[in-house]
C-alpha cells in the first residue's frame, strides 16, 4: 500500500463524489461547485502522473476560467431549482441503474483486460520546456489553428450574447458602420 496508491484513491474518491453530486443536485450552482471540486481533484491526479504543466493549466484554465464563466452565467440568468416532472422521475429511475451498470461494465472490462503493469508516480515528467518544444515543433499547425478557433469563438460569443437592437432600423445601422 504505497503512498502513491493512497493518494490516487483519495483524489479518485473526491472526483467520483463530485461527479455524483453534480448529478444529484437540483440547483445548478451546486452542480457547478461540485464540478470545480472534480477538476481540482483531477489536477491532483495529473500531478501524480507527472504531468505538472497540464495540472497547472487545468486549475488555471478549466477551474479558474471556464467554471468561473459557468458560475457567472448561472448568476446572470438567475437559474432556479429544477422542477420535478414525471419525465425527470422516470429518468432517475432508469438512469441511475443504467449508469451504475455502465460503470460496472467499464470497470470490469478495464480491469480484466488491460495490463496490470503499474505506472510509476511521476513516470513521465511533463515539464513546460519539453512540452513547449513539442508544441512548437511537431504540433505547430494545430496550435495555430486553435488560435484561430479561439478568435472565432470570441467573436461568436460576443455576437450571440449581445443585446438585440431595440428597433430593427438601429440594428441595420449598426451593421452598416
Amino acid at each position: 500500500m504505497s503512498v502513491h496508491l493512497v493518494l490516487f484513491l483519495a483524489f479518485g474518491v473526491v472526483c467520483i463524489a463530485g461527479a455524483i453530486n453534480l448529478l444529484a443536485q437540483t440547483h445548478p450552482i451546486n452542480s457547478a461547485l461540485s464540478l470545480i471540486a472534480v477538476m481540482a481533484a483531477l489536477a491532483g491526479e495529473y500531478l501524480l502522473l507527472g504531468a505538472e504543466f497540464v495540472a497547472a493549466v487545468q486549475v488555471i484554465v478549466y477551474a479558474g476560467a471556464i467554471m468561473v464563466l459557468f458560475v457567472f452565467v448561472i448568476m446572470l440568468l438567475n437559474a432556479g431549482v429544477e422542477d420535478r416532472t414525471k419525465g425527470s422521475r422516470i429518468a432517475v429511475l432508469f438512469g441511475v441503474p443504467g449508469m451504475l451498470g455502465g460503470s460496472i461494465l467499464i470497470a470490469w472490462v478495464m480491469l480484466h483486460h488491460s495490463g496490470t503493469e503499474a505506472v510509476a508516480a511521476g513516470a513521465l515528467p511533463g515539464d513546460p520546456r519539453t512540452l513547449g518544444q513539442l508544441l512548437f515543433h511537431e504540433f505547430l499547425l494545430p496550435f495555430e489553428i486553435t488560435s484561430v478557433l479561439i478568435l472565432i469563438a470570441i467573436m461568436g460569443a460576443v455576437v450571440l450574447a449581445s443585446k438585440p437592437p431595440s428597433t430593427p432600423a438601429a440594428g441595420l445601422a449598426r451593421k452598416v458602420d
Binding site: L5, V61, Y62, G95, L134
Partner: protein
C-alpha cells in the same frame, strides 16, 4: 504503484457520470457541465496513456482538448443566454419550437 487500469476505470466512471447527467438533467447549464465532465474524464485517460507509453503527445492532446472545451463553453453559454432572452426558461424541454 498504481496500475494503468485503475486510471482508466476512474476515467470511465467520470465519463459515465457525464453521459448520465447529459441525459437526465433538464437544465441546459447543467447539461453543459456534464459535457465538461465527460471531457475531463477523457483528459485523464489521455494523460494516463501518455505516462504509460512515455509519449508526451498525450499531454499535448490534453492541451488542445482544453482549448476546444473553452471555446465551446464560451460559445455555448452565449447561445444559452440568447435562448434565455427569447424563451425566458432554462428548461431544455421547453426549447422545442421544432416540435411538430
Amino acid at each position: 504503484m498504481v496500475p494503468l487500469s485503475y486510471y482508466l476505470v476512474l476515467s470511465g466512471i467520470l465519463f459515465a457520470c457525464g453521459v448520465a447527467g447529459f441525459l437526465i438533467k433538464r437544465n441546459i447549464i447543467t447539461i453543459f457541465m456534464s459535457i465538461e465532465l465527460m471531457l475531463n474524464g477523457v483528459n485523464l485517460s489521455f494523460v494516463a496513456f501518455a505516462a504509460h507509453w512515455h509519449a508526451l503527445a498525450g499531454q499535448i492532446f490534453v492541451f488542445f482538448v482544453m482549448v476546444v472545451a473553452a471555446a465551446e463553453a464560451a460559445v455555448g453559454l452565449a447561445i444559452i443566454i440568447a435562448v434565455y432572452r427569447t424563451r425566458e426558461t432554462l428548461n431544455v424541454d421547453q426549447v422545442n419550437l421544432l416540435k411538430l
